[in-house]
């Protein structure tokens, strides 16, 4: 490591919220021209630390040095002035404006009374060329891809003279190809002398992009070391604090009778266009069927159709022989369907209600939690305490609002509630979206335990690794139709990737064979 003065040095940062220390003595040193990854589980304190660096939060104690000089970052504008720029996970762009208009927003150059967009566009073009961002300054935001929108966010920080760029989970919204491009851009930026802090819990990306990594666990900085030569396994173990297995062990499946049977289903989306068309699939007891597909190919409508949240236009859904097509959601739940919804904040929980209330959301009306229409808070808390313990949900108390918990713990709470009931079928949609490896491993184990217990499990995911790791059989959906059903052992990512684009199984296998032959 170079011994020059670090661009950023954060010393003994402590940030307390009440009794809870989100940051508990964190040290961070970032050198100039370095890509420094900040690795940690959900809720480890990465975001708190970055909010301190960008002036949104004030540390309880500790100091920040920029280029060796002690500074106090007491507001976001102060952070701007110090050359710190943040590329947010959720873009803050106005769709109807052009790239240039978005970038100059808040620091407009004027010529008399009118905006001088030309000068700004020129400057933006120059920056774009310098760092290889290939963004058209005159394009409208609504017309460019998500990956390009992210580059607009990067340009925004560069335009304001940032020398230190913070990327907050930048790849969450990107396709694999866009991720590669982003990593190249980050390398370009670093070569030009910019320093980059990369917040992520994706290990592959750290190994591909970062020079140095600082691991944060439970609010403490555990270690800082060069990335070269470190394996993903080592990173994961350090982050979680124990050995993590990526591949969940499972015995071979012993499928039983058909539990969920979907026949020629048709479901419309909110615009009344058929999103699921002529869809047929069986899920048997004791097996996990993975449904792979690119986002927006009818997965959401399929699940909503099965669980009664959306009306089914045609076809049938049967659960253990009982026709549950277009039955009310509660009827379907009581028939033995556990549903981990893809959007936990919208469907999975009442964020303003307590954790305890949320854990009873499916059973609040039943004995013993309700007796003759009167709630029994003691019973509710008893159930909550049991589930929190059993599923390792971490929260300050079961009486905190669900919205105040970290994403990973929210998801664990939803999983706990849905798996605790005596189900025949579990539908898990994006069960690990946005979670770190520790939580992913845990939820995967739980789903496999459901299979072992003889339940039928349908996993819907955009992550091929997840589908491949969990499934016994894999169905691929494209444009609302099944394009192929394969055994998990007989397939691989490449084949699934081709199926997901709509190719048939024979076409995909032929294409892959050709590639090998060539």
């Amino acid at each position: 490591m170079t011994e020059s003065t670090p661009v950023i040095e954060m010393r003994h940062i402590i940030k307390k919220f009440g009794d809870f220390a989100a940051n508990d003595d964190i040290n961070l040193q970032v050198q100039q021209g370095e890509i420094h990854a900040l690795l940690g589980e959900n809720g480890a304190g990465k975001s708190t630390l970055m909010n301190i660096l960008t002036g949104l939060l004030q540390p309880t104690s500790g100091e920040i040095l920029i280029n060796g000089k002690k500074v106090s970052v007491d507001s976001p504008s102060k952070s701007d002035a110090l050359g710190i720029g943040m590329v947010h996970q959720h873009f803050m762009l106005i769709d109807a404006f052009t790239v240039t208009e978005n970038i100059i927003l808040g620091s407009e150059i004027t010529k008399g009374l009118s905006l001088d967009t030309k000068t700004a566009a020129k400057k933006i073009q120059a920056l774009s060329d310098q760092y290889g961002l290939s963004v058209d300054p005159m394009a409208k935001i609504s017309d460019i891809s998500v990956g390009q929108q992210q580059r607009v966010e990067i340009l925004k920080t560069l335009y304001r003279g940032a020398d230190i760029l913070i990327f907050d989970e930048p790849t969450a919204v990107l396709t694999p190809q866009e991720i590669d491009e982003l990593i190249t851009i980050m390398h370009n930026l670093a070569q030009e002398g910019k320093s980059i802090i990369l917040i992520t819990h994706k290990l592959d990306e750290i190994r591909a992009a970062a020079d140095t990594v600082t691991v944060i666990r439970a609010g403490k900085s555990i270690d800082t070391f060069p990335v070269a030569g470190v394996s993903s396994q080592e990173l994961a173990d350090l982050m979680v604090g124990r050995e993590v297995s990526f591949k969940t062990d499972k015995e071979s499946a012993k499928p039983g009778k058909v539990v969920l049977s979907i026949d020629n289903l048709e479901v419309q989306d909110s615009r009344r266009i058929a999103a699921v068309k002529d869809f047929s699939l069986d899920v048997k007891a004791g097996e996990i069927v993975g449904l792979a597909g690119i986002d927006g190919n009818g997965q959401t409508e399929l699940i909503q159709g099965i669980t009664g949240l959306t009306k089914v236009q045609a076809g049938h859904v049967k659960l253990n022989g009982e026709d549950i097509t277009n039955k009310k959601p509660r009827h379907i739940t009581e028939a033995g369907v556990g549903h981990i919804p893809e959007d936990r904040l919208r469907f999975g929980m009442e964020v303003e209600m307590t954790l305890s209330e949320n854990l009873s959301l499916q059973t609040y009306y039943k004995n013993p939690i309700s007796k003759s229409g009167v709630l029994q808070p003691a019973e509710m808390d008893k159930l909550a305490n049991k589930l929190v313990k059993e599923f390792d949900v971490r929260a300050a108390s079961i009486q905190v609002t669900a919205g105040s918990m970290s994403g990973g713990n929210q998801q664990k709470a939803v999983v706990a509630r849905e798996l605790n009931r005596d189900n025949n079928l579990v539908i898990a949609a994006q069960p690990t979206r946005g979670l770190d490896v520790g939580a992913v491993e845990y939820i995967h184990q739980r789903l496999i335990a459901q299979r072992t217990a003889g339940k039928a499990v349908l996993v819907v995911s955009f992550e091929l690794d997840e589908i491949l790791n969990l499934s016994d059989r894999i169905a691929v959906i494209n444009d609302g139709k099944i394009v192929g059903i394969v055994d998990a052992q007989d397939t691989n990512k490449q084949e699934l990737g081709l199926l997901m684009t709509g190719m048939s199984l024979t076409e995909a296998r032929a294409a892959l064979k050709e590639e090998v032959d060539a």
């Binding site: 669980t307 949240l309 009310k328 959601p329 509660r330 739940t333 009581e334 549903h339 919804p341 919208r346 469907f347 999975g348 929980m349 009442e350 964020v351 303003e352 209600m353 209330e357 959301l361 499916q362 609040y364 009306y365 309700s370 229409g373 009167v374 709630l375 808070p377």
Partner: protein, 375 residues
């Protein structure tokens, strides 16, 4: 707990600011604010009759505020409390006058049920229209206020038989069999129009609190109001619960109107506009900050201001309009609760900063001293 404490302090600040603004206005117009406020307190608490007046004023406000709170828990903004109260008022008085010989033990419960029931129907309609067709309850309830206002006046003037009317504009007084007034209370408060209604209102605070916080129905109403999608996912019927909440809300307003009719005025008379208890109830609910005890306190403050204000012109010469300005200022500051929260935060931040600075100075001093000593 913390949120409730905060709500309480916001309410306190609102009242304080409102009083200060009122004092400034009195000063500007050349009145003495101290004698003004002394007159206000004196008129509200000067005699048992005044206290009876305050309690009479509180009764419908508690009920309409509870109604507003239930509707807003389900995600509804019920502006129709006035109309729902009128429905109960007209209905209950009409019913009571139609059966002058029914014994009180039958008459009073049935009249209360009819009044509350009519209010519940009046609340159910906008609730159902929104659940079924997505019609904005704000517009529907505003319009229904007019419907009930003129329907009530029309029933009084054209439908009711002459035998139960005092004049074209007023019904006869309800008989002792339907009156909610109690002799001992009337005597105790030196002839104020206080009635058993205050006990009904206090009881309803407990009942509504119990329904909303302790029953599965209340759980569902809250869940639907906070996040209809998650409620539907959990098997609750968002439409059904929203409609029930609006019916309860209207029922409480209807009960408020019934008590005005059978407890306070003992008759119904031509209304020039929608009764103010509906709108004041909304303000009371907001000032109460979403807590049921808060509603009780807020209704008390409102009523003290109203009754106290009546006496201000006589004993201090401050015009009655100024009292309305003070009341309005308080509501304004409640509406601007964000402003108050922001001020609290600023003050806290300044305190923290000062504390840190003084700690730093202290530390710097302590560091300097040994260094000096070392030199």
């Amino acid at each position: 707990m913390i949120a409730q404490k905060n709500n309480l302090s916001v309410a306190m600040f609102s009242i304080l600011f409102g009083l200060i603004v009122g004092a400034v206005i009195m000063l500007v117009f050349g009145y003495n604010p101290i004698s003004g406020y002394v007159a206000l307190i004196g008129s509200a608490f000067g005699s048992m009759q005044d206290i009876g007046g305050v309690l009479t004023q509180m009764t419908p406000l508690i009920l309409t505020a509870l109604g507003f709170a239930v509707a807003s828990a389900a995600g509804f903004f019920n502006i129709g409390l006035s109309g729902q109260a009128l429905a109960g008022w007209v209905g209950a008085v009409w019913y009571a006058l139609s059966f002058p010989n029914m014994p009180a033990i039958l008459m009073i419960p049935s009249a209360l049920i009819i009044g509350a029931g009519l209010g519940a129907i009046a609340g159910f309609i906008p609730g159902w229209l929104r659940a079924q067709f997505g019609a904005s309850e704000v517009i529907v309830t505003i319009m229904m206020n007019y419907i009930f206002l003129f329907l009530g006046n029309n029933i009084l003037q054209n439908t009711m038989s002459k035998s139960i009317k005092e004049s074209a504009e007023t019904t006869k007084q309800v008989g002792a069999n339907a009156s909610l007034q109690m002799k001992w209370l009337t005597d105790l408060t030196q002839g104020s129009s206080i009635s058993a209604g205050i006990f009904i209102a206090l009881l309803m605070i407990v009942v509504v609190w119990f329904i909303m916080k302790k029953t599965t129905l209340g759980f569902e109403i809250r869940a639907v109001g906070l996040n209809p999608d998650a409620a539907r996912y959990a098997g609750m019927s968002a439409k059904r619960n929203a409609t029930i909440a609006m019916a309860i809300s209207g029922g409480l307003a209807g009960l408020a109107g019934t008590i005005e009719g059978l407890g306070n005025y003992l008759n119904f008379f031509t209304q020039n506009g929608s009764p103010s208890i509906g709108f004041d109830g909304m303000a009371v609910a907001l000032l109460g900050g979403g807590s049921y005890l808060g509603i009780l306190g807020a209704a008390a403050i409102f009523s003290v201001l109203k009754i106290g204000g009546l006496g201000m012109p006589m004993s201090s010469g401050v015009p009655f309009e100024l009292v309305d300005i003070v009341t309005a200022s308080i509501i304004f500051f409640v509406g601007a609760r964000y402003l108050i929260l922001l001020m609290q935060k600023r003050i806290k931040a300044m305190d923290e900063k000062a504390a840190v600075e003084s700690a730093n100075k202290k530390a710097a001093k302590e560091n300097k001293n040994p260094q000096k000593g070392g030199e």
